[in-house]
């Protein structure tokens, strides 16, 4: 490994900097901030285009704010929504670091969540400190298996992970539909696809339930924060993490330095899948207590936005996830009290990614003097 320590890092410093490590307040904070503000302004225009007045649009945003940070309950909802987003964001981010684009977090969440729910309802009589970790582990492994497939196909056949992961998302969705109708999973006496309920000993406990049972924020948040710490340590303090970043920066240089691209692709996709699997398990064990069709509800896709906004840095991902969690929680409130559809949040998120990925748009719009560099992660089909 010693020979490997220098060349890729030296050769590719510019690239690595673009992605993250340099904590420049302009690229790290100002541009994401302006990106969010601009996206929200475009959101107002959009609401008004559907026939609402400016006042109604402002009411909608007031509801958005109220629903995300307006009360203890709102903050709890924001953190509850942020929990799976942190894990899904980490999943996409760690793959980005190795030069892979994991659009499959959605499917990995589904498979992981199904494994977790199975362990959660099928085993009884275990104490919580064994049952809960077991269920989470099952979720991690399920997601890792779903991540292994695109990783190994990419490494062995060159199949682009973007297409494979998207297809696996659809397959996972159908598999969930199928399994929820089997005797193994379906709740007794029900005809609709809904799984049995997770045992209390496998549920992620509500952390503030003693104050008010409506405060849904659960232990999964701690799990997510620990995961962020572990991923940060893995990426920046271990040889494996160095290999991930080296392969992401320049695969041929990494190969010449003696690293196994196959190993990195497979391993990183398994970790990414596992993290997404944990996100799915967190939803099952902490919020839903059972599985229903499509329980991942687009969180895996939002993870892409989270990873990009957080510049693939684990702590940046946490911050971005809290922001998007707020948008999600506030979006619910907006839909209920201002009658503006929650899909607006998806549009705002897409706009945020555009502005973060193309900072030149922001610098031109606000006449900033920062030299803007665009994000470049993938390298076409054949690499």
């Amino acid at each position: 490994m010693t020979a490997a320590q220098t060349p890729p890092e030296v050769a590719q410093r510019g690239f690595v900097q673009q992605l993250t490590t340099s904590v420049n307040w302009r690229t790290g904070l100002l541009i994401p901030f302006l990106a969010v503000v601009t996206a929200l302004i475009i959101g107002i225009v959009l609401i008004m285009l559907t026939g609402s007045s400016f006042g109604q649009a402002m009411d909608a945003y007031a509801a958005l704010l109220q629903g995300s940070v307006g009360s203890v309950k709102a903050i709890s909802e924001t953190l509850t929504a942020a929990t799976p987003l942190i894990l899904a964001g980490l999943s996409v981010a760690i793959a980005f670091r190795a030069g892979l684009f994991n659009i499959g977090a959605e499917g990995q969440m589904l498979v992981g969540g199904m494994c977790a729910v199975f362990v959660g309802f099928s085993i009884t009589g275990l104490p919580i400190y064994i049952h809960l970790p077991l269920a989470l582990l099952a979720g991690f492994i399920g997601g890792a298996i779903w991540g292994f497939i695109p990783g190994v196909l990419k490494a062995k056949t060159g199949a682009h992970e973007v297409i494979v992961t998207i297809m696996l998302n659809y397959i996972a969705l159908r598999l969930v539909d199928f399994f929820l109708k089997t005797e193994l999973f379906q709740r007794e006496g029900r005809n609709d696809p809904v799984s049995k309920t997770v045992e209390a000993s496998a549920q992620l406990t509500q952390m503030l339930g003693w104050m008010n049972p409506a405060l849904r924020v659960h232990l999964g948040l701690i799990v997510a924060l620990i995961a962020a710490g572990v991923i940060h340590w893995l990426l920046f303090r271990t040889t494996t993490g160095f290999e991930f970043r080296a392969v992401g920066a320049n695969p041929s240089a990494a190969r010449y330095a003696g690293m196994s691209i196959t190993k990195v692709y497979v391993l990183v996709m398994m970790i990414a899948g596992g993290l997404a699997g944990l996100a799915g398990s967190g939803q099952i064990l902490g919020v839903l207590d059972r599985a229903t069709p499509g329980f991942s509800s687009n969180i895996g896709f939002d993870g892409i936005a989270v990873a990009l906004l957080g510049r693939s840095n684990p702590w940046g991902v946490v911050a971005a996830a809290v922001l998007f969690g707020g948008l999600r929680a506030g979006g619910q409130q907006m839909q209920v009290s201002a009658d503006v559809g929650i899909d607006l949040i998806a549009v705002i998120q897409a706009l945020i990614i555009i502005f973060v990925a193309a900072p030149a748009l922001i610098t031109a719009m606000y006449r900033l003097k920062t030299p803007a560099v665009s994000t470049q992660i993938s390298k076409g089909w054949a690499s």
Binding site: T50, L153, T157, I163, M167, I171, A346, I354, S378
Partner: protein
């Protein structure tokens, strides 16, 4: 700044040398794997299908209103399954021990065709299976996939990866239905096409001018369009259902040709969008490979630097190719609404854009190849529909998975054999 466009001459020589060596080893392994797959399929036919059938399988070859009526084709179920499974076993064993080398793709195609026939014989055992209606549906269902692939080909031949086809389809489907409800089908079709063009302009500006990662832009286009159309559906279309009720293009029968048995209903009695697909496949093939514009586009996709030094404007060529590609994608989107049901539902394209991408790769970035690949996907979709009607004892979820599984197999199995344009996905910086 961006390492993708940095030349590395010496390294790449060594790399290609190493790669070809690896490839032969890979090819042997691949031949083994595909051989085993074929043998397994043969076993499946012999051990699962044969015991389950009895009597004859009847295939309908004409629809009631055809001018020339063909008799239904009846074959003994078990006997033909034995024959088909032996063919599969023979092909599988040959592939396993010797490999078909250059002809592998064709042989694999034939084998899956044989398996598909076996599936149909099994499904039709003891009942009537309208083969003709399935073939007609195959051509219709392969239309958005073929057009999506064509959209990708136009973009990628110029060196811009377009993952946003799905979004362009969905956008086209949406504006198609809204404008179609307001001003009639033709205006709807035109607006769908323009919507694809506008989305492609976004892709082109970000990819060519701002040099943003093209895969990210594509994904963003998909998320953006899905969000926008869902938002507008919930905010506007639900409250004003008259905006979500467009006229449907009826099938137009071409005189004489439409009366040919089998071929007629399949190719000459379809909607205007299907005909549009045939015209576009033909004309884009001609434009790409027989005109100066096509040569320049392909040159920019292969080696933008060389094209630039000969005075071709890389940016202009890419803008044009991407916008044309987007318009094809938007046109394809109209198939979902104006070409079939006349109303828009959230996320109604259901991944067809991505399947189109797989068809593009399977077809080796060639319009005609992509059309043939799209036919396979269209076939698998309409087979699934047919099976759902025939009460086949396979859970519908697994049938619904089939196109996605086929896509993965295609992308994993074919991508090493075909070569994308050399500069695909790489932003170009004029020096």
């Amino acid at each position: 700044m961006n390492q993708a466009s940095m030349p590395m001459p010496r390294e790449s020589y060594e790399l290609t040398g190493k790669r070809t060596k690896e490839l032969t080893k890979r090819q042997i392994r691949k031949a083994r794997i595909s051989g085993i797959v074929l043998l397994l399929l043969s076993g499946l036919v012999m051990l699962v299908f044969v015991p389950a059938v009895s009597g004859v399988s009847t295939f309908g070859l004409s629809t009631p209103d055809d001018a020339i009526q063909l008799d239904s084709l009846a074959v003994p179920s078990a006997g033909s399954l034995w024959v088909l499974s032996s063919v599969l076993a023979f092909l599988g064993a040959t592939q396993f021990f010797r490999g078909f080398q250059g002809k592998t793709t064709i042989i694999l195609g034939i084998s899956f065709g044989v398996f598909a026939i076996a599936l149909m014989v099994w499904a039709a055992s003891g009942q009537e299976f309208s083969l003709i209606s399935m073939l007609v549906a195959t051509v219709s269902r392969s239309t958005p996939i073929a057009l999506g692939a064509l959209s990708g080909i136009l973009c990628e031949r110029s060196g811009v990866v377009n993952i946003g086809i799905e979004g362009m389809l969905l956008g086209g489907a949406f504006t198609g239905v809204v404008m179609g409800s307001l001003l009639g089908g033709w205006i709807g079709l035109l607006s769908a096409t323009l919507t694809g063009g506008v989305l492609a302009l976004l892709l082109a500006v970000l990819a060519v001018k701002f040099r943003v990662d093209q895969i990210i832009i594509g994904v963003v286009i998909n998320i953006l369009v899905l969000g926008l159309t869902s938002f507008l559906t919930a905010q506007v279309l639900v409250k004003k259902p008259e905006l979500n009720d467009a006229p449907i293009f009826a099938a137009v029968k071409i005189p004489v040709l439409g009366d040919i048995p089998i071929i007629g209903p399949m190719f000459f009695d379809q909607t205007i969008i299907v005909y549009g697909m045939f015209i576009l496949i033909g004309s884009v093939t001609y434009l790409l490979f027989r005109t100066r514009w096509g040569l320049r586009t392909r040159a920019v996709g292969e080696n933008p630097k060389a094209a630039d030094s000969l005075g071709v404007s890389v940016a202009k060529v890419r803008y044009l190719a991407v916008i044309y590609g987007g318009m094809v994608g938007g046109f394809a989107g109209a198939w979902f609404t104006l070409g079939s049901v006349g109303r828009f539902d959230e996320n109604m394209t259901g991944g067809r854009g991505f399947i189109g991408l797989a068809a593009m790769i399977f077809g080796a970035w060639n319009p005609i190849g992509a059309f043939l690949a799209a036919l396979i996907f269209g076939f698998s979709e309409s087979l699934q529909q047919k099976f759902a009607l025939l009460n086949i004892p396979i859970p519908s979820e697994f049938l619904a998975m089939a196109p996605y599984l086929v896509t993965i197999v295609v992308v994993a199995g074919v991508v090493g054999r075909v070569r994308p344009p050399a500069a695909d996905g790489q932003p170009y910086e004029k020096q």
